[in-house]
């Protein structure tokens, strides 16, 4: 019972963290793309080319390994729980 509770609440808690970190990472990436465009095209803040450039950059980010690494938010605490129980009970 306690294990089910730990599992469910832990999953919900880590999911909140997962979503927050995903949004943060995306936001950082978008800001970098905007800054890069502003450096190359000073004064241009609304053109369709700028939108296309940023959307292409975001698509590239979504296809890369970085957003997948955020799944470590689930993996690391699981490893920590296993490690703590081994250290406390076996070693």
């Amino acid at each position: 019972m306690a294990f089910a509770r730990l599992f469910v609440f832990g999953f919900l808690f880590l999911s909140i963290i997962y979503v927050a970190v995903s949004v943060y990472s995306r936001s950082i990436r978008r800001e970098k793309l905007e800054d890069r465009w502003a450096e190359d095209h000073p004064g241009d803040e609304t053109s369709p080319e700028r939108d296309a450039f940023i959307e292409a950059g975001m698509a590239e980010y979504n296809a890369s390994i970085r957003p997948k690494l955020i799944a470590l938010v689930y993996v690391i605490p699981t490893i920590a729980v296993i490690a703590i129980s081994i250290i406390v009970n076996v070693i």
């Binding site: 019972m1 306690a2 294990f3 509770r5 730990l6 927050a20 970190v21 943060y24 936001s27 950082i28 978008r30 800001e31 729980v81 703590i84 129980s85 406390v88 009970n89």
Partner: protein, 225 residues
């Protein structure tokens, strides 16, 4: 107002500090004297000082708890400064299971056996490091929960609190990360939204000014100069 705010902050910091002091592992240099088992009532508010093992029914009002009686080397400052003095300390020995605090301890019976094995007399002491969490509060019959016991050669052995070191590094990293996330959220989401609201309000304000000006001019046109 400032005094009020600082007092609230100080109380919050104290509560958080007490919570960490209760929950994080600490190490004592001890000599096991005896172990015993005693029935404990669990039906009043001091329930918070007892663990919740997985095999315990929710409606249970009392159960047997194992204890480890020791002679302990006293210390100052969370165990960092050793003293020559000795005192007594009694630990409870309970499974924490999958519940709070997250020690995932299931080896109560084995730990009790290890403690029994280390029993010694003042004439031929066998010193050991006891890892535990919790407080000894005589007033409420609260006992720290033993987590592990390890024999040491001399009572002056160096103990490095690895877990707490990593824990506080992790907490500092976490605080910095959350702060960065909050700043990013404010810069990219809240500030633009506020700006939009302000722009909209200025438009409404300007429109109202213009309307009022027209009405005023129209009214003025009826007044004789």
């Amino acid at each position: 107002m400032r005094i009020f705010r600082n007092s609230v902050l100080a109380v919050l910091v104290l509560i958080l500090g007490a919570f960490l002091h209760y929950t994080l592992p600490q190490h004592d240099v001890v000599r096991v004297v005896n172990t015993y088992q005693e029935r404990q009532d669990l039906n009043d508010w001091t329930r918070i000082f007892w663990a919740t093992p997985d095999d315990q029914a929710g409606t249970l009002v009392n159960r047997d708890v194992q204890f480890i009686q020791t002679v302990k080397k006293k210390s100052f400052l969370f165990g960092f400064i050793r003293r020559d003095a000795e005192g007594v300390m009694v630990y409870r020995n309970e499974d924490t299971g999958w519940s709070w605090p997250p020690y995932f301890k299931f080896d109560t019976a084995s730990l009790q056996t290890e403690a029994d094995d280390l029993r010694s007399t003042p004439e031929a002491p066998k010193w050991a490091v006891m890892t535990h969490y919790g407080w000894r509060v005589e007033l409420f019959s609260a006992f720290p929960n033993a987590v592990a016991i390890k024999p040491i050669d001399s009572p002056d052995a160096t103990i490095i609190p690895w877990f707490n070191i990593f824990f506080f590094i992790f907490v500092i990293a976490l605080v910095l990360f959350v702060r960065a996330m909050w700043l990013q959220f404010r810069e990219r989401t809240i500030d633009p939204a506020l700006e939009d609201t302000r722009d909209a309000w200025e438009k409404v304000d300007a429109y109202a000014d213009e309307k009022r000006g027209r009405v005023r001019r129209w009214l003025d046109s009826w007044r004789g100069k």
